[in-house]
């Protein structure tokens, strides 16, 4: 039994569960520093990285200075504080068939329990704030079919806690699947049961398009809602958020505040939801008219912080960035207290634009709310020097010709 770990887990679990959020800021800070200290000692690749860059616990006095680990490191190194015998579950990122390129997130039994708590607490506040249970229809494989997927796992926790009878996972690829899904949704409508449709943004869009092809407009029962995860990053289809929300409104009869987006990552135990919309204003970048529904900005839960970092500015991660201009563009750096056995500070490659809100603006905790713009992809024109992308294409062509 790892006493130090269980002590930390208990403190963080209490912090997550605490109803009262006063004093959160300093408590978050001290917990983060405690977790950093633990991780420095226990996660070898992390310790070596901290030593290499000369940023160690004795030199860090605020959570903003905790060295963040690149998401890419989760593919290459074992980023876990415990021994193999404590590993209860390993999640792997998707998006590529090459196993060497998938992030791996290790969890002990206790670590899974903290994640469960984080998942439920967050969902209760951001997706089921009215306390209503719904029939949950998840568009995607259940954990038995996709044991590597942290998203399937998370969805199954939600089904368990918030799902009325008849909740479950549905495939959503073929026409047949979509027809079965439609039947399931229609049953909810017929029985006047609120339904929560949950899945990747793409799966939901597929369903909207399926309905559009039949010119179907459903009127889901009051209390129904939709949760979509992942957005449209890195794919050929791209529709703006407001168009997606409009489709949900037309096809399912859902008001905009009932359509919620979620950011989840294999490297993080916690998720980031849209904050409740219509509370905060965000001036549209493209000069859209004021008739556009309010952008759904993301706000981390109280046991997380997210910074927007501009990688072009050295040292753009320290406290200075919390004082920086009101709107900022950069890549997201997350600090997740529920990541106890894996690095709590994670540097992603997600591009975002965000706004810093202080406690004074009625936004606990202070920090960034943000909108994800996509992945930091290298799509701009480049030179004629050979790149690894060139080689991949060449190899593919050689094997097909």
């Amino acid at each position: 039994m790892d006493l130090e770990l269980s002590g930390l887990i208990k403190k963080i679990a209490d912090f997550i569960s605490a109803k009262d959020s006063s004093g959160s800021e300093s408590l978050f800070d001290s917990l983060a520093l405690e977790v950093f200290n633990f991780q420095y000692r226990r996660i070898e690749p992390y310790r070596r990285m901290c030593d290499r860059i000369g940023v160690t616990p004795s030199r860090v006095t605020s959570w903003t200075h905790i060295p963040a680990v690149s998401t890419r490191a989760f593919r290459l190194f074992r980023m876990f504080s415990g021994e193999d015998k404590y590993v209860a579950r390993i999640f792997k990122s998707s998006g590529t068939t090459d196993p060497a390129l998938r992030s791996r997130a290790y969890f002990s039994r206790a670590g899974l329990e903290v994640m469960d708590l984080a998942i439920m607490t967050n969902a209760a506040k951001r997706f089921f704030p009215d306390g209503r249970s719904c029939r949950l229809l998840v568009l995607g494989p259940d954990p038995a079919k996709a044991p590597d997927s942290i998203m399937s796992y998370g969805m199954s926790r939600l089904v368990e806690k918030f799902g009325l009878e008849g909740s479950g996972f549905l495939a959503c690829h073929s026409q047949v699947d979509l027809e079965l899904l439609l039947e399931a949704v229609n049953r909810c409508v017929a029985e006047s049961i609120p339904v929560a449709i949950m899945g990747s943004s793409f799966a939901c869009l597929n369903f909207f398009e399926f309905l559009a092809a039949r010119d179907s407009r459903l009127a889901l029962s009051s209390g129904s809602r939709l949760l979509h995860a992942g957005g449209f990053k890195g794919r050929t289809r791209e529709i703006p958020v407001h168009a997606f929300v409009a489709m949900a409104s037309v096809r399912l009869g859902l008001a905009p505040e009932r359509v919620v987006n979620l950011l989840g990552m294999t490297e993080l135990a916690s998720q980031i939801y849209d904050q409740r919309p219509a509370q905060f204003d965000f001036t549209s970048r493209s000069g859209d008219s004021h008739n556009e529904p309010a952008f759904h900005l993301k706000a981390p839960p109280k046991w997380m912080r997210t910074l927007i970092v501009d990688p072009r500015l050295p040292g753009d991660s320290d406290e200075g960035s919390l004082m920086s201009p009101v709107e900022k563009k950069g890549i997201l750096r997350h600090f997740d207290l529920a990541n106890i056995e894996r690095p709590l500070a994670v540097q992603s490659e997600d591009l975002a634009a965000g706004r810093l809100l202080s406690a004074a603006q009625g936004h606990p905790p202070p920090g960034y709310v943000f909108e994800i713009l996509g992945r930091a992809e290298l799509s701009e024109p480049r030179g004629c020097s050979l790149s690894s992308e060139d080689l991949c294409i060449g190899l593919a062509a050689a094997t097909t010709s």
Binding site: R52, S70, C384
Partner: protein, 497 residues
């Protein structure tokens, strides 16, 4: 449409013609942003009909105009153009520097330097020499010339119309193809790259002032990626295709072009540097490191000419590690003179993560040492013994690989044979035998140009670009033979073989 800059050129006569035909062309605007700089650039897109009209026009002009000009006149005009571009007071030069910097993010110092490098290698002497190198007697493009190798006369002709497709963001690169076409008395129609659409339009305008006839044989246009019909009209109208691009672009064009269309391909390339142990002397190390760092800094590592790996033999007076450290100092030296390209957040993120992972791999005991990698992401110097040569992540990325000898390097380069181009080779003053040996190994591996360090970025026009005789490829010949081969032999017994 008012934009900050334009990317197109049409001879006035052709422009007037196209304006009379509805649906022959349309304009699009692209916005480029780098940090505080923002610039809008206008593109003239031809429709299939417009393309056909333009190509017809250019072919007629070639016959009516270029064929009546002499090689000396054409070389003279091109030389005058190069000279102009080298003059700091030339108005188009400062405009080009400003606009290309805004579009590409390259510092204005780098853009100016690139223009200088290109123009200094495009003088009259180079142009004539290039023809001599591949065509033999340059004046065979004017008229039948006596052929010293046979008993008779030879004449050469270039294609009527060369079509060029440019890619990449390297400043001023396209003008090389215009010169090649003109030297063969061919008209040229070029599609600019969205990555650097500025130079060719300004070059054309400047050329018009020098020689409007020659400039009337040139068109600089655009069509969007999806405009396959326009591309098809282009491919079916030109007599020779020159295409730059990555493997996928080239493979696509290979399939799309008419089967009989002669083509010259310039794909993406990987350059190397090779330092023998004899070159690693304490007295010469700083100078050598400065030259290597320069080669790794020009064009911010993005040109095909740029090196991506530096092989350093072990066992010299200076160790590979010490050499790497000296190179790192020199990368800082060049940073001041040629400031780095301004980066988008995406590009910077990529470098940021790459840097983080290298630091982690080093700290986990993998065979890689991060010799220097400043937090501002301006350059990286690594010492790596991974046993594999891979393309670098881009930017000023100096990867030093300690090696035993050129046999090892030949093995390492084998998988990249189709993508090799330039090699910088440094040997000791007493290593002439080794130099031949290493050069031979590099050449057999697929390298098409070997130079001393410091000039990787300035190929001459005599270089067989990507191993091809680019001028000769476009030529066709007519020989007048006055004797039979048997008779030539009888004659030959009196002559030196």
């Amino acid at each position: 449409m008012l934009t900050d800059a334009i990317s197109w050129w049409l001879p006035p006569e052709l422009e007037a013609k196209l304006n009379l035909v509805p649906d022959s062309h349309f304009e699009i605007i692209r916005q480029y942003e780098h940090g505080a700089q923002s610039i809008s650039v206008g593109f003239k897109c031809l429709t299939p009909m417009g393309m056909t009209i333009a190509c017809e026009f250019l072919k007629e002009k070639r016959d009516a105009v270029l064929l009546t000009k002499s090689i000396d006149q054409i070389a003279g005009a091109l030389d005058a153009a190069s000279e102009q571009w080298l003059d700091p007071a030339f108005e188009h030069r400062s405009r080009a520097i400003r606009w290309i910097s805004a579009v590409t993010g390259f510092s204005s110092e780098m853009v100016a330097h690139s223009i200088d490098l290109e123009m200094k290698s495009s003088r009259r002497q180079h142009l004539i020499q290039a023809l001599r190198n591949e065509i033999g007697n340059p004046y065979s493009l004017d008229d039948f010339q006596e052929n010293p190798n046979a008993c008779g006369f030879t004449r050469a002709y270039g294609p009527q119309l060369v079509g060029a497709i440019f890619s990449s963001n390297i400043p001023a690169l396209p003008h090389l193809e215009v010169m090649r076409a003109m030297l063969l008395k061919s008209s040229c129609i070029g599609r600019v790259s969205a990555g650097e659409p500025i130079f060719l339009a300004l070059y054309s305008r400047a050329l018009e002032k020098i020689d409007p006839d020659i400039a009337s044989c040139l068109a600089v246009v655009y069509w969007q990626r999806e405009a396959v019909d326009t591309e098809s009209a282009f491919l079916n109208s030109v007599d020779h295709l020159v295409a730059y691009g990555g493997d996928s672009q080239i493979q696509r064009l290979m399939r799309a072009r008419p089967p009989g269309l002669n083509s010259t391909w310039h794909g993406h390339r990987l350059g190397v540097a090779y330092i023998t142990r004899g070159a690693l002397s304490a007295s010469g190390i700083t100078d050598l490191a400065r030259k290597i760092a320069y080669d790794f800094s020009i064009f911010d590592g993005q040109a095909c000419l740029c090196p991506q790996v530096c092989f350093v033999e072990r066992g010299g007076e200076i160790s590979p590690r010490r050499f790497a450290e000296t190179c790192a100092e020199q990368m800082i030296y060049w940073k001041d003179i040629l400031p780095p390209q301004s980066l988008s957040i995406s590009a910077a993120s990529h470098r940021y993560h790459t840097r983080e992972i290298y630091l982690m791999r080093e700290s986990m005991g993998e065979p890689v040492q991060v010799v220097d990698a400043p937090e501002d992401l301006s350059f990286t110097v690594l010492l790596e013994e991974s046993g594999r040569v891979e393309p670098s992540p881009g930017g000023r990325f100096l990867r030093i690989m300690p090696v035993e000898d050129s046999i090892e390097v030949q093995r390492l380069l084998k998988p990249l044979a189709n993508h090799l181009q330039c090699a910088a080779l440094a040997c000791g003053t007493d290593e002439s035998v080794r130099m031949s040996e290493v050069a031979a190994k590099l050449a057999s591996a697929g390298v098409s140009r070997i130079v001393p360090p410091g000039i990787m970025g300035t190929p001459s026009m005599m270089w067989h670009h990507d191993g091809q005789a680019c001028l000769a490829k476009m030529a066709r010949w007519c020989d007048i033979e006055l004797l039979s081969p048997e008779e030539m032999l009888e004659l030959g017994s009196d002559r030196d073989p």
